[in-house]
């Protein structure tokens, strides 16, 4: 092979350019420049042979909006590009994304390892709903990487972690956990909802599959649910016979072998053709449009979210009624070193802090805020607040609340993109009443 060193380097568009343009071309028939909302269930075939080609996965194209939709496809390609993956699939919610990923990887009796530090909804999904499918979760502690290795068995099919773990403040050492996954020959799945690819691209640190609740920072405006699955294209599904959706002839498609046929985007095809097609949690094209519009400003919003969150964390850390603040952007935080390694552009918008006044102080604070919204979501342009002990975790015993990071004194914030003086001013007046 001869090396042509005179050829100019291939130009790669920057992140902000991809956030606006990736996946979106002018509409081929009308010239519409914004991505149209293709609010249709179905698409006409050119002819009978074309229909057969589409149903047989032989041609690229649109059949029915449960399998794919041109508006959703723009969202898919956009997020695949932003995460540095080969392909993606958009679905109805972050939970639907996780359901389809595990459906594609696991069969009844299989195990997967998950970080203990996850969004409470994911802990519920893994502990209960997945158990009834025969998919058994084994928990590990991201603060002690050796627990992942210890949880491996010959039934382990995947490892699942969040990059920045909800309720915020925990930064997970993705590269170290990826090394364990690679050694074990299982894919690493990373939920990148809190970081977004603007702050962190886990594929660069060894993630094989990235999932999102696009409802949060990707959409960013608190107006639409959605979930995304990104295929990194890095995992060799044919190295063993443990992933038959990818490596075995599929009876659903006349014996086609998806990994052999689709190469480094086979996982994205499998979750679509064997997961979304049969289980059905399709994303509305209208929601896809809203999420796409949100993504166009993702870099600007994440910068502002992170700057505001750091300023609010510093204010709270110096406040006499605050016992502690868990934000990795603070220099004395236990995760600050990991944040410097993985999150040089900012540590995100979601974090917790503890009030010296305990349960009553938490209730008083959420009752007295006027700019913050008291609700159970994160990743909105608006600043959000919740006191888990009196809301989402209210049914747990006091001991269980503490284990879940929802002790009586804990308050969770999702800092918005308002003027930071107004955000701090609102906390200041509410804390004065505590």
């Amino acid at each position: 092979m001869t090396e042509d060193t005179t050829a100019p380097a291939v130009h790669e568009p920057g992140f902000a350019t991809l956030a606006v343009h990736a996946g979106a071309q002018p509409d081929p028939t009308t010239g519409a420049r914004a991505t149209p909302i293709y609010q249709t269930t179905s698409f006409v075939f050119d002819d009978v042979d074309h229909a057969a080609s589409l149903f047989g996965l032989q041609a690229f194209g649109n059949i029915y909006s449960r399998l794919g939709n041109p508006t959703n496809a723009v969202l898919e390609e956009r997020v695949a590009a932003l995460e540095g993956g080969t392909a993606a699939l958009a679905v109805a919610s972050g939970h639907a994304a996780q359901h389809l990923v595990f459906h594609t990887l696991l069969t009844p009796g299989d195990e997967f390892i998950a970080s203990r530090k996850l969004y409470g909804g994911s802990i519920n999904q893994f502990s209960h709903a997945f158990k009834s499918f025969g998919w058994n979760v084994k928990w590990a502690d991201p603060d002690d990487i050796s627990t992942f290795e210890a949880a491996l068995t010959d039934k382990t099919k995947a490892i699942f972690v969040e990059s920045i773990a909800n309720p915020g403040g925990v930064v997970v050492d993705i590269a170290a956990i990826s090394a364990i996954a690679k050694k074990a020959g299982v894919p690493l799945i990373v939920d990148n909802t809190l970081a977004t690819p603007y702050l962190w691209q886990p594929i660069k640190d060894g993630a094989d599959i990235v999932v999102h609740s696009a409802t949060k920072f990707l959409g960013g405006h608190g107006n639409s649910l959605g979930g995304i699955i990104v295929d990194a294209g890095t995992f060799n599904w044919s190295a063993t016979d443990r992933y038959p959706f990818l490596s075995a002839p599929r009876p659903e498609y006349q014996g086609m072998v998806l990994h052999e046929t689709f190469g480094n985007f086979a996982f994205a095809i499998a979750v679509r053709a064997l997961g979304l097609r049969d289980l059905g949690p399709a994303l509305s094209p209208f929601n896809a449009f809203m999420l796409l519009t949100g993504i166009e400003t993702l870099p600007l919003r994440m910068q502002r979210h992170s700057e505001n969150a750091l300023a609010v964390a510093r204010y709270l850390a110096a406040h006499p009624k605050v016992e502690w603040v868990s934000y990795p952007g603070l220099e004395n935080d236990r995760y600050h070193a990991l944040a410097q390694k993985y999150l040089p552009k900012g540590a995100g918008a979601v974090f917790t802090f503890g009030l010296k006044g305990g349960y009553e102080a938490g209730v008083s604070l959420v009752s007295n805020v006027e700019l913050f919204s008291h609700l159970a979501n994160i990743g909105d342009t608006r600043s959000l607040i919740i006191h888990p002990a009196s809301t989402t975790h209210r049914q747990l015993t006091d001991e269980a609340k503490v284990i879940a990071g929802a002790g009586p004194q804990v308050v969770r914030l999702s800092i918005g993109i308002e003027d930071v003086a107004d955000i701090i001013g609102d906390l200041d007046q509410a804390l004065a009443k505590v």
Binding site: Q25, L54, F60, G68, Q254
Partner: protein, 180 residues
């Protein structure tokens, strides 16, 4: 020539230039990648000649299988190879006897043989390795984005429809006439 990574303009240039493609290792089985590529390229307007000695004479989707490259009755622009890398020297031995010589030797996804690539380039052929022309056509036309695949291309120009249908796109230049 760097074969670790190709510029889009190199691949687009090849796919726009060639009209006649011989597919070595083509399959008559509709679930095999070599069948899918053969059918897709034929539907995109290329003259496709499937080569497979075990299938010679068989007709599939309007294409007749031939036993060897020398049986193709007209000049071949591109030879697309669905054979494992160790079989490439034998394929090249056949290719280099064809007159006129093909312009392009293309090795499919997963197929790379740098020695054969060097020989083909020395003979004046363009070489592509470890790529699929169906994926590359779909990527450059914009079709592949319909499946959520990252095309790694950006364009503010309207994609061109191909033929009569609405679900086929062309890789032809999107710029207005006169633009370069």
């Amino acid at each position: 020539m760097n074969h670790d990574r190709y510029d889009d303009s190199y691949i687009r240039g090849i796919l726009e230039e060639v009209r006649t493609i011989a597919i070595v290792g083509a399959s008559a089985n509709p679930t095999r990648p070599s069948y899918l590529v053969m059918k897709y390229l034929a539907e995109r307007g290329y003259r496709v000649f499937p080569i497979n000695p075990g299938q010679a004479g068989k007709e599939v989707v309007g294409l007749t299988f031939l036993g060897r490259l020398a049986d193709v009755p007209e000049p071949i622009d591109m030879v697309d190879v669905f054979r494992a890398p160790e079989h490439l020297p034998a394929v090249w031995a056949e290719v280099e006897t064809i007159l006129p010589l093909p312009k392009v030797l293309w090795m499919q996804l997963g197929v790379r043989n740098d020695e054969v690539a060097a020989q083909a380039e020395a003979a004046g052929l363009k070489v592509v390795m470890d790529r699929c022309p169906k994926i590359e056509y779909g990527r450059l036309s914009g079709e592949i984005g319909w499946t959520g695949v990252n095309s790694r291309t950006l364009s503010s120009r309207r994609p061109k429809l191909l033929g009569q249908g609405v679900q086929r796109l062309s890789i032809a230049s999107r710029k207005p006439p006169g633009a370069v």
